[in-house]
């Protein structure tokens, strides 16, 4: 019998195209997702060296970061640099013959939302994209991670990536979650526990009853932020929930190929006694609805907490926390629930899927966005938007006073016009609370869609469990 393997080991072994004597490996890439921001220089590199795209059939391109989310976007992009970048993707996708979803295609959306939605993302695959949140696709038991533009060019040219194997880390969430606690609270709580460098050098496999109980949408939220914990990738072993989600998607296998695929996918789990280099266990019942208070995703506290005193920390974190609090305009000892917000953003590759919109709509149904609060919902894809409109969610948001938008990355990073001004405080379902992330000087508090919706209603950070 061969040695027990982790899920990561199994996917790695199935994609090893070459191993040099010094241990440097060429990993074969099954799917390469491409967006407009990190690809122009890579395509230009191909042109300059006379190289081609080796596997255009395995390459999927979509503009998402720069696209306007306003309803007039058919008229074009005002910002010249953004327009040039989107036009460059348009030209490159057509010239090199890769799959392409242009801005006004109803299937357009955030690259990490449409990959799974269209069935490009399948269990056991290797998936890369010039975007750190590629980790999202790990929810399907696919090895998925972000790469830089030079590596984008490498994958375009060779369909492989030069890699050294990472170490294995297991994050187990045992038992059940309490009411009001979501996938976002799990993933933020894990980062709060491990820190933003805790996963550096590892691929994380999330497991345990609380993970098993999550929908695919929830699992994507968990894996999406593996990168915020420093890990190369996050993985969840595929199961019936996964197969059910994948079946019937446009690019999922059909007929006999479905059966063959399913047979292999069912072997994709970590063997008993497989070795993990690091193990973290968290009880599901110990996880509370959380928000971030600082400018690092590790700055996580239960909503019932108070703004910490930097003196509570050790080492370099003392100065980092002082800087964070000055930037965030917060005073130690303030109850988080007493912090007023100015804006609410619901969307992003972390929380822009249909289940996220349902959770937020359930909170705001029959209520109003508090006066003076700028609140917006940006669906993760055109198809998520359509579904939300059909389910009546869009009407709930609009009646409550939310701005209902077209799909894109939007205010998660503000490369399009969806940006916040200095000192504007935002309850956001996105993934990064870095300084300047949503606009120069803006202040981001990360949280779940339900919590962001609750903040929109009350105008302050709010414990969704106590909102009537």
């Amino acid at each position: 019998m061969s040695a027990p393997k982790t899920l990561y080991d199994k996917i790695w072994d199935a994609h090893l195209a070459h191993q040099a004597e010094d241990g440097t490996c060429l990993l074969y890439i099954d799917r390469h997702l491409v967006h407009e921001v990190t690809s122009p220089q890579a395509f230009e590199g191909l042109r300059m060296t006379g190289r081609t795209v080796r596997a255009p059939d395995k390459t999927i391109a979509v503009p998402d970061h720069n696209v306007p989310t306003t309803w007039d976007r058919e008229d074009g992009i005002d910002n010249e640099e953004s327009r040039i970048q989107v036009e460059a993707l348009d030209k490159n996708a057509r010239e090199f013959g890769v799959h392409y979803y242009p801005v006004n295609d109803i299937r357009q959306g955030i690259v990490h939302i449409i990959g799974p939605e269209q069935g490009w993302t399948l269990p056991g695959m290797t998936i890369v994209c010039g975007d750190s949140h590629t980790a999202t696709h790990g929810a399907f038991g696919a090895l998925a991670h972000g790469i830089g533009t030079s590596e984008v060019e490498h994958v375009l040219a060779t369909q492989t990536l030069i890699q050294k194997k990472s170490k294995n880390m297991k994050v187990e969430i045992t038992g059940k979650l309490r009411p009001g606690v979501t996938a976002k609270d799990i993933t933020l709580s894990v980062i709060g526990e491990t820190g933003t460098a805790g996963g550096t050098g590892y691929v994380i496999e999330y497991c345990g009853e609380a993970i098993r109980d999550l929908s695919m949408e929830g699992r994507m939220t968990v894996c999406n932020m593996a990168i915020e914990g420093g890990a190369r990738a996050g993985l969840i072993a595929p199961d019936e929930t996964t197969f059910e989600y994948v079946k019937g998607r446009p690019h999922a296998p059909k007929g006999a190929q479905w059966e063959a695929a399913l047979a292999w996918w069912k072997t994709l789990y970590s063997d008993d006694d497989a070795h993990f280099d690091k193990v973290i266990t968290i009880k599901g019942e110990d996880i509370a609805p959380v928000v971030t208070w600082g400018t690092s995703p590790e700055d996580v506290l239960p909503i019932t907490g108070v703004v910490p005193d930097p003196a509570e920390f050790d080492g370099g974190k003392v100065d980092a926390a002082k800087r964070s609090l000055a930037y965030m305009g917060l005073t130690p000892g303030t109850r988080l629930q007493d912090v007023d917000v100015d804006a609410v953003f619901i969307g992003s590759c972390t929380n822009g899927r249909i289940e996220d919109l349902r959770a937020a709509a359930e909170v705001v149904k029959g209520k109003k966005v508090k006066d003076g609060i700028m609140a917006m919902v940006v669906p993760g894809s055109g198809l998520v938007r359509l579904q939300a409109e059909e389910e009546g969610l869009a009407d709930i948001f609009k009646e409550a006073g939310f701005d209902w938008r077209l799909a894109g990355c939007s205010m998660c990073l503000g490369m399009n016009p969806d940006q916040l001004g200095p000192e504007v405080r935002c309850a956001s379902t996105s993934n990064r609370n870095f300084e300047g992330r949503q606009g120069r000087g803006s202040r981001t508090h990360l949280m779940s869609p339900a919590m962001a919706a609750a903040a929109a209603v009350t105008g302050k950070l709010t414990d969704v469990r106590e909102l009537n």
């Binding site: 080796r54 640099e81 292999w264 990073l413 200095p422 300047g436 992330r437 120069r440």
Partner: protein, 201 residues
């Protein structure tokens, strides 16, 4: 890519931990379709005020550090996004080496693709180099990739580890796509086998 063999230069101290890629190069500068010209916007929101005036407190605006080629940084430098614009901006400014206790994975890889050497050293050694860097422009730190050492101004040499393949690519300025294309036969063979085992991919 320019070779990296040895470098003797001014080191700028940036002790803040978790310096993320949004700090290194904010999103408004990611709209370029070129790799060059980003140096002027390196650390933009720390370096300039909202009106574009230099912030005199920021290390790279201080006379001693305007020509820094090395950054000694706090833990977890380069965390956040995959934007290669971060190393492009560093390189365009003139930085060829960053020293820290840890780097985010994607940023670390991106550096090597652009002739920048990221060096991981234990905390007390980074602290010692930070102190050295804080002395200013009269101090030079020397990095020798062949010998795998960082030498402080007092002559203390600190050995560092680096992956053998990455080291070779930097020392020789190699194009790794070209190297991989030399293994096309292996990739062809893999594709053929995989197409039979997993025809649905």
């Amino acid at each position: 890519m320019d070779k990296f063999e040895t470098l003797t230069g001014i080191a700028a101290p940036m002790p803040l931990m978790n310096i993320d890629t949004d700090m290194i190069i904010p999103k408004q500068f990611l709209k370029t379709i070129k790799r060059s010209g980003l140096g002027v916007n390196l650390f933009d929101e720390m370096r300039y005020d909202a009106d574009g005036n230099e912030n005199p407190d920021f290390v790279l605006n201080q006379p001693a550090y305007r020509d820094a080629q090395i950054i000694v940084a706090g833990d977890n430098f380069g965390c956040g996004s995959s934007r290669e614009h971060a190393p492009w901006a560093l390189l365009d400014f003139g930085v060829r080496c960053v020293i820290s206790t840890s780097f985010a994975d994607i940023f670390y890889n991106n550096c090597f693709k652009n002739g920048i050497l990221p060096i991981v050293l234990p905390k007390e050694q980074v602290d010692a180099l930070m102190e050295d860097a804080e002395k200013g422009a009269n101090v030079r730190i020397t990095v020798d990739l062949e010998a795998q050492t960082v030498t402080a101004s007092d002559g203390t040499a600190y050995p560092f580890e680096v992956d053998a393949f990455k080291r070779r690519c930097l020392l020789e300025g190699l194009d790794d796509i070209g190297l991989t294309m030399e293994k096309a036969a292996s990739i062809d063979a893999f594709e053929e086998t995989a197409a039979q085992a997993r025809p649905w991919v």
